[in-house]
Symmetry: C2
Subunit: 224 residues, 2 copies
DNA sequence: ACCTGAACACCGTTCAAGT
DNA sequence: ACCTGAACACCGTTCAAGT
């Protein structure tokens, strides 16, 4: 994909050996700005370095490679997930927590592939896990069943958002949906797909999310 | 990530205007070979062209860009998903179908991000959808509820595999799990995460998949 | 229409050298 | 220890030209 912005502002005005005064927190903060304002695809080591006014490879004095930088970025962003107040029933609070997780992920759609593909074990991820386990305990789940239930809820919510996000972000959303509907409707010898072409071409969204989540919570409730 | 294989075998021995005899099916077949043998990350337009003995940009006479090539590749691979025989109960068959879908996806772990991020509306995807809708009909679901149930099952299964696959593929799987366990166990003021450090650091797998799937099928059964 | 040659505008990362 | 300069080994894609 082409069309990059021409950028060339403050380049390094230092010679070798002169410090720029960088530290990993500064780099992370700038990475966050880039990720939130322009998306992860714009987050390259070279662009980041340029914004910080250093040579591209200067970043490697603070982060082993790009993926460790991204790992830290992922956990730092999780701080934005809203945690329910603790005043309602365990079920209502779990629903609220998964809803706000979904909202958070949809707001950071481009980061979802990263969240899916690497373990989240930073401080913010742990804090969210603790809250969720607390709610599951109120639902009557402790020990291994609680751990399994937590994983299932997270897998469901992250998986759902992962499939929802790219479609929401697609600039040709409407055309894409129309193309799906056409493909389903005109499929030969596939009567059910043809009949349901319209609802099926509607991408999974809020309603499906709530339905599946309710089924999972029913299951959790029954495990008690 | 560095360390690329040096390759330089048969390069183009043609001048401009001389045809190589390519067509899109040949290119797709070669793309499939590369994807299955070396993984999608090795599937670059330049490498593909080299294997086919043409200049990199020759491929653009047959595919608009890399992403449309990948779209066709994704559907073509779906032909490998095993479809149940039709002799058991709707529930057993749905379980079997989702299991084989998960197996397929895990075998093509590197393709999962692509399956998640683009609509699958090719002939193979439609065929699988029709089978699933048939099973849901036997479960008593028709019309929109059936469409919703189909989406939920697919979202769950794809989402699950998406989170399972990268962990299975991780060469430092054991070290990574140990790091998670340590992080959870030593988290201060997070008693539940500490207590459950071991099961939580065990990545979601077959057992969690079956549990969540059963809950969803219970929900489907209750909708009838 | 299908292909090559050459280029453009990028990547992540490493190595050697400076202070 | 932290940084620069320069390079390595790649990318996807476009443009002009050949038959």
């Amino acid at each position: 994909m082409p069309v990059r912005k021409k950028a060339r502002g403050r380049t390094a005005r230092r010679g070798p050996g002169q410090r720029a005064g960088l530290d990993s927190a500064m780099i992370l903060a700038e990475a966050r700005v880039v990720a939130e304002r322009e998306g992860v695809e714009q987050l390259t080591m070279r662009r980041l370095a340029e914004r910080l006014g250093v040579a591209p490879n200067a970043l490697y004095s603070h982060f082993a490679d790009k993926s460790t930088l991204i790992d830290e970025l992922l956990d730092s962003l999780l701080a934005k997930v809203e945690v329910p107040s603790g005043e309602k029933s365990w079920r209502e609070e779990l629903v609220a927590l998964m809803r706000s997780t979904r909202r958070f992920l949809l707001a950071h759609d481009d980061l979802l592939p990263y969240y899916l593909s690497r373990p989240t074990r930073g401080p913010n991820a742990i804090r969210l896990g603790e809250v969720t386990l607390g709610l599951l305990e109120r639902a009557g789940l402790k020990g291994e069943p609680a751990a399994t239930a937590l994983q299932i809820l997270l897998v469901y919510t992250f998986g759902f958002a992962a499939q929802e996000a790219p479609r929401l972000a697609d600039p040709e959303h409407d055309e894409s949906r129309a193309a799906s509907e056409m493909a389903f409707r005109t499929a030969r010898n596939q009567p059910r797909m043809s009949d349901l072409a319209e609802p099926l071409s509607e991408y999974p969204g809020k309603d499906s999310f709530e339905m599946g989540l309710a089924w999972l919570l029913d299951g959790i409730e029954g495990t008690r």
